[in-house]
Symmetry: C2
Subunit: 251 residues, 2 copies
């Protein structure tokens, strides 16, 4: 159940089989299914438990008074929606399902207990939330400095590396691909662009063979080219366990 989370945490540090079992048990407690467009948590809710994405895609988003919406992050399998938030009186942003999503509802106490009894897990969960913070800063940088094509390219790079870390990418004949069940509308909300301009820019990216996007599958024919356009530097994802360098050509 918690396979993806475990895979992700193991990017940071090796977990003992005991640690893994603890996570598995915690995630197995209660599973909820959320349909597309439904919220997993809504801004203003009081945090009661911690939500772990088991399957499907979701996003964090904020809505302005006049209805404008900004997606501030994508949530993929293995992502924990709201760890540590239980010390706040209310959540300051919403999380909504983009596809059918299976969520494990872990009672705060259970998670606290899991963490308290394993320093290694504590560190791994800290690492995880530091990475989320770093991703948020990188989004700010993208929205502030990168222009349309760079911004989209950067997002595809980010998602490729994150999905690779949980084993949700494929690598056939040097072409990397992954499931990407997001509409252009949602992509517009995430990149701060209009739908029309997202579409225009995607056409351009296809022309330049930066991505191939058919149905719900995105293929990256040349990751280094995409990274170069995006000025993507994977350091902020902190995936370099044991100082081992990230390499675009590695499977």
């Amino acid at each position: 159940m918690a396979t993806y989370l475990i895979r992700k945490l193991e990017q940071f540090t090796q977990l003992s089989s005991e640690d893994k079992q603890k996570l598995e048990r915690a995630a197995a407690a209660k599973v909820r299914v959320v349909r597309p467009r439904e919220d997993i948590i809504r801004e203003g809710d009081k945090p009661r438990q911690v939500n772990l994405i088991l399957d499907g895609w979701a996003c964090r988003y904020k809505v302005l008074e006049d209805g404008r919406r900004q997606i501030v992050g994508f949530l993929v399998p293995g992502d924990v929606c709201d760890i540590r938030m239980f010390i706040l009186k209310q959540i300051d942003h919403s999380m909504g399902a983009l596809t059918p999503v299976r969520v494990a509802e872990i009672p705060s106490d259970t998670l606290l207990d899991v963490i308290d009894t394993s320093p290694r897990l504590t560190r791994a969960m800290w690492w995880n939330s530091l990475v989320e913070e770093a991703i948020s800063r990188e989004w700010t940088t993208s929205l502030g400095q990168r222009e349309a094509i760079e911004r989209l390219s950067h997002l595809f790079c980010e998602l490729y590396f994150r999905l690779k870390a949980v084993g949700l990418t494929e690598n056939g004949q040097g072409r990397k691909s992954f499931e990407f069940p997001v509409t252009q509308d949602q992509l517009a909300d995430a990149t701060g662009m209009s739908t029309v301009h997202v579409n225009r820019t995607l056409q351009l990216m296809r022309e330049q063979e930066l991505i191939i996007w058919k149905g719900k599958t995105v293929t990256i024919p040349d990751l280094e080219a995409l990274m170069s356009v995006a000025m993507f530097n994977a350091n902020y994802l902190h995936l370099d366990r044991d100082g081992h360098e990230l390499d675009a050509n590695e499977p």
Copy 2:
């Protein structure tokens, strides 16, 4: 020494005098002075200690390969630069002084010890980093959805509330003001706008009497008006200890 940090944390919870003394002692250990334009920490550095801003203004920023710079957050007195980062191998963004800054260098162990021996402080520090995350998401929202005048207005609102929390605002004749030693250039890097457009937009804001900015002092003649333009909702700063509502008219 740690006065501002203590004031900030007390927005979240009452601290015992013992807690406060612990923080004071930790902050008194070693103080470094950083000159304007110098870095407090540079991207790629290995975190060795935790830096607490005692005095002055700084910012977090990221630089793209081609030199474009995005400021991803402002650091004011009482802000902790890099708590929790010591579990990472390297820092993923730089922090630079905007004015002369006095920084307390707190050894990681000291801080861990302080936190470990006081659950209340632990929670307060957690709360603090959750607020920082929330601010980062709000910046993403601003850059993605708010247009120039809204974006600048929002930033002034954020800074007003943050500075109020540490006692660095004044409130004479209903007009709120604070020291704001930031150049239009830096404001441009923070809002993802060009310097020229920052200037244009500031002129507009002065015309509409949203702000008065003379020398290094910003005055807000009508906070509610500014908040309205910015579509500012202070919830994300989580300053509502004991469920007490935030009110623009309160001193």
